[in-house]
């Protein structure tokens, strides 16, 4: 593209201030933001994500009832029958709209804290493993081998059967299996960048290993890690919903979409259809929203990979 972009920085300073805006330099993040905002699906996903975050944070103020208030006169009330319970009520007479909104809180809590823990463990571990190599790398790789020998969901299920249910335990159990992915990714990134010229030159200038890892390699590895984080969130949300669906995840009275689906799937699914339908729609919307944001981010940060 011919135009202002190719004008060198020195030249840019020679122009009058009034024209400088036109020659504004572009940064990686600015470019990425622009590309991201042009992506309609990604913006839709971002909208869903923000809405869910809003619901999760302000659930206490926007729900019409407390999340555990049961009214036995409205047990299994169908939706759109009673304006006091727009989306009906569940099997013990709790307002379904309230339960759904509080479900967003559980999903977001698990969905954000599991990747946070996983990356807090995985990134340093992968960095040391990839950067130092040798014995540390060998040990970490063997642990990864063992952890990947069993399907993660199966392992999480097994661990959960030992620790017992509950939000904290679900987060713990999912984090135990989730740190593998960031470890592998960070290790691969460090392995690639370790051999690059800029690392050699930094070392020649006397930079310490720690400084090289933190200041030179990590910024280069940031975009794949960010994208991986965005995909780790829906994965954790899915895992929580799945475990709760199977009856091992979140315990009563905490609301969880997965548990609500599990409760709705039964012989009366076509009678009390709302019990199964609404939470499934929310789970599907959440998963789609997050994966659109992830795809959009990937394309925005690394346009060469988009098709």
């Amino acid at each position: 593209m011919a135009g202002p972009e190719i004008i060198a920085e020195a030249d840019y300073l020679n122009h009058p201030v009034s024209l400088r805006a036109q020659y504004k330099q572009r940064s990686l993040w600015g470019d990425a933001m622009r590309r991201f905002s042009r992506n309609r699906l990604a913006m839709f996903g971002l909208g869903v994500l923000l809405l869910l975050l809003f619901l999760a944070v302000f659930a206490d103020f926007i729900t019409p009832y407390p999340y555990d208030q049961a009214d036995f006169s409205v047990v299994n009330l169908l939706p759109f029958r009673d304006p006091a319970h727009i989306l009906g009520a569940d099997g013990v007479g709790r307002d379904y709209l309230t339960r759904l909104i509080y479900g967003a809180r559980t999903s977001m809590l698990v969905g954000l804290s599991v990747p946070l823990f996983a990356f807090a463990i995985g990134v340093p571990l992968g960095a040391i493993s990839g950067f130092r190599g040798g014995r540390v790398d060998f040990v970490v790789q063997r642990i990864v081998d063992i952890m990947t020998a069993v399907p993660p969901l199966l392992f999480a299920l097994f661990l959960l059967s030992l620790t017992g249910s509950g939000v904290g335990n679900v987060i713990f159990v999912l984090s135990v299996t989730a740190w593998i992915e960031p470890t592998r990714l960070t290790r691969a990134q460090f392995l690639t960048f370790r051999e690059k010229e800029f690392v050699a030159s930094a070392r020649a200038m006397g930079a310490s290993d720690f400084r090289i890892a933190l200041q030179h390699i990590l910024p280069n590895a940031l975009t794949p890690l960010l994208v991986s984080f965005t995909f780790a969130v829906p994965a954790a949300i899915f895992a929580e919903a799945g475990l709760s669906f199977l009856g091992l995840g979140i315990t009563e009275p905490t609301a969880s979409w997965g548990k609500m689906v599990g409760g709705g799937v039964g012989n009366y699914i076509r009678v009390y259809y709302h019990l199964a339908l609404f939470p499934t729609l929310l789970v599907a919307l959440t998963m789609l929203g997050f994966s659109f944001v992830g795809d959009g981010l990937q394309e925005a940060l690394d346009p060469s990979r988009s098709q």
Partner: protein, 338 residues
């Protein structure tokens, strides 16, 4: 025509055997450690299969039960006993299933159902996914491409128990498609209506959507890569027919990268999905795993975990070997797979 790998020197074959042996040994150690971890974790947690809430056994009864099931010996000794049995493919007897049948016998009884479902799913997902991906790549950005992309996205992002719930909402239990009573345990490759029963329709449809999405997406990506390659342009300028180009040039090269992505799907499908089996009441491995977990059936959990881990490990090994056979430029032996 003599292709490069027809003249593979003997030394490489020897290297390959060594590589396979090395991988098998490391798989053995991984299984050993997995079994140790599972065993220790199971036994570290207070309580056992007979102390679960509602079973009000007295002290004496509990002690007798523990002795009967070999739970009174110390954990390290129990693990050694387990290993001695496991080497002879004896994983002990189930705690919770009536009649205490051996774990191996139970798995043999239950796995065929899962295999059956998995085979159908593989046929559907690969049989539909590959053509869908090829067509989508050939007619890029057309409505058909959009349809394929939409289906793939739906299958890959929406969890299968959600899709299963939607299907149940639409079709319900009336037809018996989701009813457990409908499910008998069909023999693998056996005869009779069970093989082509409509009972499989909903589970297979749900189960196939995710791998179908993956297959379609990867096929589309690698076929469109191959379509824009120089050799395709050369073939077109030589005046070869589109059909010939697609079969001989595009598909051949597009298949190579697909193998590593798609083959690992197979063990997934053959060991079953927890969700599909629970939703539709399929009495397969996945449902059995859940039941064993709820009942704390130690030998069953152990047997199932080891079976699945071994199956996964072997499939990854086969994938790596196939990859070198298909594409002689790649040689995985000599370095560890990353």
């Amino acid at each position: 025509m003599l292709r490069p790998y027809d003249r593979k020197p003997y030394g490489i074959q020897l290297l390959m055997t060594g590589y396979i042996l090395q991988r098998l040994v490391s798989l053995f150690f991984v299984l050993l450690i997995v079994s140790a971890i599972v065993f220790v974790l199971m036994n570290l947690v207070p309580g056992g299969p007979f102390t679960l809430g509602e079973r009000g056994y007295s002290e004496v009864e509990l002690a007798n039960l523990n002795r009967k099931y070999g739970l009174d010996v110390p954990v390290p000794q129990r693990y050694v006993n387990f290993l001695i049995g496991a080497v002879q493919l004896d994983f002990g007897n189930s705690f919770s299933v009536a009649g205490r049948p051996p774990v191996t016998e139970l798995i043999a009884r239950v796995w065929p159902t899962t295999l059956h479902l998995g085979l159908y799913t593989i046929i559907v997902s690969f049989g539909l996914g590959i053509p869908m991906g090829v067509v989508a790549a050939y007619y890029r950005n057309s409505w058909i491409d959009n349809f394929v992309t939409f289906t793939a996205t739906l299958g890959l992002t929406v969890p299968n128990f959600i899709i299963a719930t939607w299907l149940l909402l639409v079709f319900g239990f009336q037809n018996g498609w989701g009813a457990e009573s409908k499910w008998i345990i069909p023999p693998l490759f056996g005869q009779g209506p069970a093989l082509l029963s409509w009972d499989y329709f909903l589970p297979v449809l749900t189960y196939a959507l995710a791998p179908l999405g993956l297959v379609a997406r990867y096929t589309r990506a690698s076929v469109s890569d191959a379509l824009s390659a120089d050799y395709v342009r050369t073939a077109r300028s030589k005046g070869l027919s589109e059909r010939f180009i697609m079969v001989r040039h595009v598909m051949r090269n597009a298949l190579i990268p697909m193998v590593t992505v798609l083959l690992p799907q197979v063990p997934n499908l053959l060991t079953g999905s927890l969700f599909i089996e629970v939703v539709y009441g399929v009495p397969g491995l996945g449902k059995f795993f859940i039941t064993s977990i709820f009942n704390r059936d130690y030998p069953m959990i152990m047997g199932l975990v080891l079976l699945i881990a071994a199956f996964w490990g072997l499939t990854y090994l086969v994938t790596d070997i196939l990859y070198t056979l298909i594409d002689p430029r790649v040689r995985v032996f000599g370095r560890r797979n990353a």
